[in-house]
Assembly symmetry: C2
Homo-oligomer: 152 residues x 2
């Protein structure tokens, strides 16, 4: 992971107000009204580095941060964000859907014991010998999940 689109700290520091506005602009660009709930979730999701959350995680976090929203809204919002390309879903277990703020090409370690996801930069990994898609189909995405267990 190099200089991939990360903004220099200077730009962020330039204008204190800009942060909030950024999220609003970003939401608007996705044709989503910047409501309080969506802004709160966007702030939690996109303020720091890349994150992996489940709906429940994020709901709890939002409540803890003082936001007032329902789990249903979190689900709705996560799906809207996903559809808008701000998030991506990661399927690793049958139980929960994980949402990933890193929408670039990359893969995952999955720690089965505690359900934690860890990014593997896509640039590091090369896959060879993959057959091409059956006729009539095209490859939408290639996901690699490296399942980890604690060493005993």
């Amino acid at each position: 992971m190099r200089s991939t689109g990360s903004k220099p700290a200077a730009e962020n520091a330039r204008q204190g107000q800009r942060h909030k506005a950024d999220f609003a602009v970003r939401l608007r660009a996705a044709q989503l009204r910047p409501t309080q709930q969506r802004l709160a979730l966007a702030r939690l999701l996109f303020s720091g580095g890349d994150r992996h959350v489940t709906a429940e995680d994020l709901h709890g976090e939002a409540l803890g941060a003082g936001a007032r929203l329902s789990l249903a809204t979190v689900y709705n919002t996560l799906h809207q964000f996903t559809q808008a390309g701000l998030l991506r879903q990661v399927i690793v277990d049958g139980d929960k859907i994980h949402f990933d703020t890193n929408t670039g090409e990359h893969h995952h370690f999955y720690v089965e014991d505690d359900g934690v996801l860890i990014d593997i930069p896509g640039s590091d990994v090369r896959i060879e010998g993959l057959p091409k898609a059956p006729s009539g189909k095209e490859i939408e995405r290639v996901d690699i999940v490296v399942r980890l267990k604690s060493r005993s």
Copy 2:
């Protein structure tokens, strides 16, 4: 089914019944009693080539084939088979668990439109540049899922 009396091992050697006996032996090796239901499912799963099924699929198939068993038993059996190493789970969508009769190293195409899985032989594929597992963890398995969509 047929003889209510004792089934001497000699019957296993009988040619005509060899198939069935094979399944019974296989189940027994996994410390699973070869009950009617388990035999019926084993027959459906392992008679032909490799298969991918969901619990509901298999239940419907079994009923269609004249077996009399409940969905709960199918779930129980699939998990027992999985634990015994006869099957393996494939997680590709959050909705259903797919069970794969191919327990060897291989990967999958996943056709998102209709939920169909297609094997990719593991021998064909090579992955390079994968970071090694974080300390304290070890790699249990590497799964590749190639998601396909219909070309428009």
